[in-house]
């Protein structure tokens, strides 16, 4: 079972204030801590589980800067076998179709049975790259996958639909599956794995190495234009409870009790 797993290095903005850079077309990410995209972490785990069960090997593919090597080594420490990191500023990374083209360029000439991606990146939240990648590779796909069962040349997947409903679909291999969070319990990397990961192959490539013409994946090639970014005004009608933590707690408790809410 030959597996490719695509992962992305993203900033953790869950509790951070986000500010724009001086040009207003990007985000000032200097104060953020970065790590593997949440859904991609589950994709790594799923690929390693399948490798262990069906005797395969896993190649990690990631587009990102040198600083993301730490994330890639961690995926290899958990059991992925090798990695390709693509670094090239010419890629129009705001367009998932351009990103998918680059990933397809790295995978298409190699033998593969399964390609995993996370179902959505936390930063841009487009949920589009994996399914676009499947089309570019000319293989089947399923998005929002919550369970994977491989049986003779096919894969039966549970797709997460709205409201807790699931859809079971059978698709042929090879296939691209976009993995939903919660599908498994991502492992911690074992110490031995962390040591071994240092010796595993991590190839750094650019568009020229991959044989992808710049004009197929750059901002000119993209059919969309990111015109501007802005910070939306959070229109809150909320009563803000001020003070030291203890005062806040006291005020809120009093509001809840006097208002008959509890």
């Amino acid at each position: 079972m030959k597996i490719f797993t695509c992962i992305k290095y993203v900033p953790d903005t869950s509790e951070a204030e986000v500010k724009l850079d001086s040009e207003g077309t990007g985000v000032d990410s200097s104060r953020f801590s970065f790590d593997i995209n949440d859904a991609d972490n589950y994709a790594v785990e799923e690929s390693v589980l399948i490798k262990e069960k069906h005797d395969g090997d896993v190649t990690v593919v990631s587009i990102g800067p040198k600083s993301s090597d730490v994330m890639i080594r961690m995926a290899m420490a958990k059991g992925c076998d090798r990695a390709i990191r693509i670094e090239d500023e010419r890629i129009a990374t705001h367009d998932p179709l351009m990103v998918a083209k680059v990933l397809a360029g790295a995978i298409k000439d190699q033998e593969f049975d399964l390609v995993f991606t996370g179902c959505m990146a936390e930063d841009y939240g487009q949920a589009a790259t994996g399914v676009a990648l499947a089309e570019l590779l000319g293989v089947s796909h399923a998005a929002y996958v919550k369970k994977v069962e491989i049986e003779d040349g096919k894969v039966k997947v549970h797709r997460e639909l709205e409201g807790g409903l699931r859809e079971v679909v059978e698709i042929s291999l090879p296939a691209v599956l976009t993995i939903q969070t919660g599908i498994n319990e991502p492992r911690y990397a074992p110490i031995r794995g962390i040591r071994q990961a240092q010796k595993k192959e991590l190839k750094v490539m650019n568009l020229d190495d991959l044989g992808i013409p710049e004009g197929e994946v750059n901002a000119e090639a993209s059919r969309i234009v990111l015109e501007k970014l802005y910070i939306p005004v959070v229109e809150s009608k909320a009563e803000i409870i001020e003070g030291e933590p203890e005062e806040k707690a006291e005020k809120l408790a009093s509001i809840l009790v006097k208002g008959g809410l509890v």
Binding site: T13, S14, E15, E17, V18, V27, H94, P96, L97, A100, C119, D123, G125, Q126, A127, A128, V131, A132, E135, S140, A142, Y144, R159, E160, L161, E162, G163, G164, L165, E167, V168, V169, I171, S172, T181, R223, I224, V225, L226, K228, Y230, I231, P232, V234, S236, K237, A238, E239, I241, P245, K248, A249, E250, L252, A253, I255, L256, V257, L261, V262
Partner: protein, 324 residues
């Protein structure tokens, strides 16, 4: 002609809300493009659904064929691909849903369409279609323009637009299925209904919600203690359920439950739209979060901008005292 083709979405015999929500947007865009709205409905025995959509004053194209009894992205893609060639719509719209996410990117690649997913706004400026979408879980908005094209594609966020009321009656036109036989590489097997847990949070009067900000499961007693004092049930964001802090049936949001408590106290939840969509029915919302710009504060009636670990234990103590 700048027509807008909207893909209707349905499941288990029910038209999904997103189908009508998109009609809050499509007519004005079609008008700006100098065309009309056409809604495409693919299914089996979907006559009543077609009438319901037509009741919003739009033309409905119906492919009524047993081949479409269950949703299948690959079949849908084949039909849309053929109809884009036939009808040459200026814009195709579908939902950013489990269906749309599984279909739209592949269609965009196949047909070489400019594509913007998960939009929350759409306008036409001097003939250019411009979409608004969110980045970083709603902390940044982006305006994205589609380059000059015969056909563009957008997917629309669920519950971002209010479904319009029925108006005049539009025409229903049956068309032949461009797809003649079943596909062998993707088959629908079955639906699996959500599991029912020990507590049905859709019926809870008071809910305490936890999110990523709780940090780790050893902090769970912070929320549990508060819940006990005010006789609340616990629920959580996707992050809280994925982390295993709570079972999946306690998840609130688009992929979980829609709740309607009289009081909802949430802590460490940033308020991503997926979660917010599930709490619209809550009467009073109290949000506790460190980030003053957290989108959850747009939904809250009372806001505490602080570390939940500092505030909540004291809140629990104060409530204990006041309630005797």
């Amino acid at each position: 002609m700048g027509n807008v083709l909207v893909l209707a979405e349905h499941r288990q015999g029910e038209l999904r809300d997103i189908s009508i929500e998109m009609l809050a947007l499509a007519p004005s865009v079609a008008e700006a493009l100098g065309g009309e709205v056409m809604v495409l409905l693919l299914g089996s025995e979907v006559g009543p659904m077609a009438e319901k959509i037509a009741g919003h004053g739009v033309k409905v194209l119906v492919v009524d064929d047993p081949l479409f009894a269950d949703y299948n992205s690959d079949k849908y893609q084949k039909v849309l691909s053929a109809l884009i060639d036939d009808y040459k719509p200026k814009l195709v719209m579908m939902g950013q849903t489990a269906q749309g996410v599984d279909l739209a990117p592949a269609l965009a690649v196949e047909k070489g369409l400019p594509f913007v997913p998960d939009i929350i706004g759409l306008e036409v400026e001097e003939g250019v279609i411009k979409a608004t979408r969110q980045l970083y879980s709603g902390k940044v908005n982006a305006q994205v323009a589609l380059k000059e094209t015969d056909t563009g594609l957008v997917t629309v966020r669920e519950a971002a637009f209010e479904a319009p009321d029925p108006s005049t009656t539009g025409a229903v036109e049956k068309i032949d299925s461009p797809l003649k036989e079943d596909l062998d590489y993707r088959k629908f097997v079955e639906y699996i209904e959500a599991e029912i847990g020990d507590v049905d949070i859709t019926q809870s009067e008071i809910l305490v919600g936890i999110g990523r900000g709780l940090k780790e499961d050893k902090n769970l007693p912070v929320a549990e203690a508060l819940a006990e004092v005010i006789k609340a049930d616990l629920c959580g964001s996707r992050a809280a359920c994925d982390a295993g802090w709570l079972p999946d049936d306690r998840q609130v949001g688009t992929s979980g439950k829609t709740v309607q408590p009289k009081l909802y106290i949430c802590m460490g939840i940033s308020g991503a739209f997926q979660h917010v969509a599930g709490i619209k029915g809550a009467k009073t919302i109290v949000a506790i979060n460190k980030d003053p710009n957290a989108p959850i504060f747009a939904e809250a009636d009372y806001a505490i901008i602080d570390d939940l670990h500092k505030v909540v234990p004291q809140l629990t103590e104060k409530l204990k005292e006041l309630k005797g």
